[in-house]
Symmetry: C2
Subunit: 343 residues, 2 copies
């Protein structure tokens, strides 16, 4: 059963017979089977229809054979459930037509019924668990409050993130109010996912990467910490992936089990920096999957060797898989991890 | 005279009476005087006309009162001088109409006369030195081979940099050939700038930020190292700014004087990591200049305190100044650095 799976045991820092692997955004556009489904249904419809979400979630398990499934969804379903109008066009990135720019808008967020409006996610979790039937564990996820707020305030992709940062610097009280609302929603949301059957949960803080260490602590880490402290995880591992941070020392103090690491870091250095207090997940450069097989194998070996001996490594990319990635290279990566880590 | 300036002494790690400051992209769009000139002349014309380039270089010295000038130019003048057609539209970012995708194109780069086609830069250096008349030192700069190659191969802005990375992974020999051509050109170019009178030179490696540690070493650091080894610097400080790297240990072994640090790092940690072997330059988050004055002051103090006591700190932003930055906030930053670092 999945509770004793390689993936769960590695999350808990246990020694495993080989290194488990899953891939961020593994249920996505690089799979022809996914693209075929998406020709019939748009992105939000696919998220909101448990039959579709569960089918998409399972595609990479069948095709790529990863050691964990991650529920097909999007981090922005939370602000959408709070009443913000969201357009999700994968080629353009997400767009909120009325981004948050004032305390009035924050006060108008529909926070009372957020969780019940996200019931489709819990239905998808249950349906996926049935379909998986114990083959591999199921990961549920959420954006961090900071990353969600960044999208909600910027409204669309940004190069310099000057709108969100001007907002937090000029209206820190409003910013903290928004972040606390989001932190409470994320606790409720991840708790409901755990209660619905998720075997692990991951908090994505993609936009940790744009903050100075002091701002990261004030505007992001504080709220991730609140979430970890308030989840009744019942032994379900919590993974925190803060992309682009300069140091992992503060993250190592979180009540979580695993830290995700992006590909610009050396796993050996991160492991030493935090004295092995957390399991680590990562960290192959996603573009290596465009390389010839020898390079994929060599880089896989490098990542495994960098983590080194002992339990507590979950192989993954250092960020989400890119949509033009050849499927056979992903399959080859999974084979390489299996073979090289069992030696 | 500028040779004994605060800035030069700080680059050499000497204790100074206060911390010098200059600002990456200080001669640029946030200045109304710059925008007024640019209404009359396009970007490349401004770079290529020594009268204009020198006038623009001096604008921030008059208006913001920084402790060093940096020659107004662009890193992409090198590939342009090699015959690549370049469009520089500041709102869109640079575009090469025929990006490099084959060894044939690399072999066709016009490398024989590159330096003589860049003579306008040397004329601008001489004219600026005359106009500065010793007020502050003049910094010349170049892109690193890796960063130049990234622009030349991608051809325009990228989100995932899959084109350049696919190129180096699939055609490593061609990639190394291109990088070596660029490294030789950068040596020539920076040498000519030093010989024309620049008081310091900076190598910008913006796209260090997209590489894994192993790829950074192979595709970028190796060539920066070659440049530092081959420059006859005659005591002119060399500054290397590799944005977004996970570690500074390898950079500390370069034959350079100063390492630039982006704003996601704690200066105290970088200083400890490299055991103080280099002076450090940085690292205020550029968006802090959109904050109220109290926040600007507080963050300035934090950066100064993070570096700590002793010489060898050059205050700067952690990346280029943003074009919508209010000028009065830049002036206030300079005042804060002067006041707080003289205490």
């Amino acid at each position: 059963m999945s509770k004793d799976s390689l993936f769960i045991r590695a999350c808990k820092g246990e020694q495993t017979e080989r290194t488990p692997i899953w891939i961020m955004r593994q249920a996505g556009r690089y799979l022809p089977e996914y693209r075929a489904l998406r020709e019939k249904y748009d992105f939000l419809t696919s998220c909101k229809t448990p039959e579709l979400a569960s089918e998409i979630t399972i595609q990479p398990i069948d095709i790529v054979d990863t050691d964990a499934a991650i529920l097909f969804s999007d981090i922005l379903v939370i602000p959408e459930a709070m009443g913000m109008h969201l357009e999700l066009i994968e080629s353009k990135g997400p767009v909120f037509s009325e981004p948050i720019r004032s305390i009035g808008q924050i006060e108008n967020l529909e926070t009372d019924e957020t969780l019940s409006r996200l019931d489709y996610v819990m239905q998808a979790v249950k349906m996926t668990k049935e379909k998986l039937n114990g083959r591999v564990p199921l990961i549920g996820f959420s954006g961090s409050p900071w990353t969600l707020a960044t999208y909600m305030v910027e409204g669309k992709g940004s190069k310099n993130f000057d709108i969100i940062k001007s907002f937090v610097y000029n209206e820190p009280e409003s910013a903290h109010k928004l972040l606390q609302i989001l932190a409470d929603s994320v606790v409720e949301y991840l708790q409901a996912k755990i209660d619905a059957g998720c075997d692990a949960v991951q908090i994505f803080d993609t936009w940790a990467s744009i903050l100075s260490p002091a701002d990261f602590e004030e505007y992001s880490l504080k709220y991730i910490s609140y979430i970890c402290d308030n989840l009744q995880s019942k032994g379900v591992p919590i993974i925190v992936f803060a992309k682009g941070v300069g140091s992992y020392q503060n993250l190592a103090q979180l009540k979580c089990d695993v830290l995700g690491v992006d590909w610009t870091k050396e796993l050996s250095r991160v492991r030493a920096e935090i004295s092995g207090r957390k399991a680590l997940q990562g960290n192959l450069d996603p573009t290596v999957l465009f390389a010839p097989k020898e390079k994929i194998r060599k880089e896989t070996e490098r990542v495994l060797r960098s983590y080194g001996e002992g339990g507590g490594h979950i192989f993954n990319l250092g960020h989400g898989i890119l949509s033009k990635t050849p499927v056979e290279n992903v399959q080859y990566l999974v084979e390489c991890v299996r073979e090289l880590s069992s030696k």
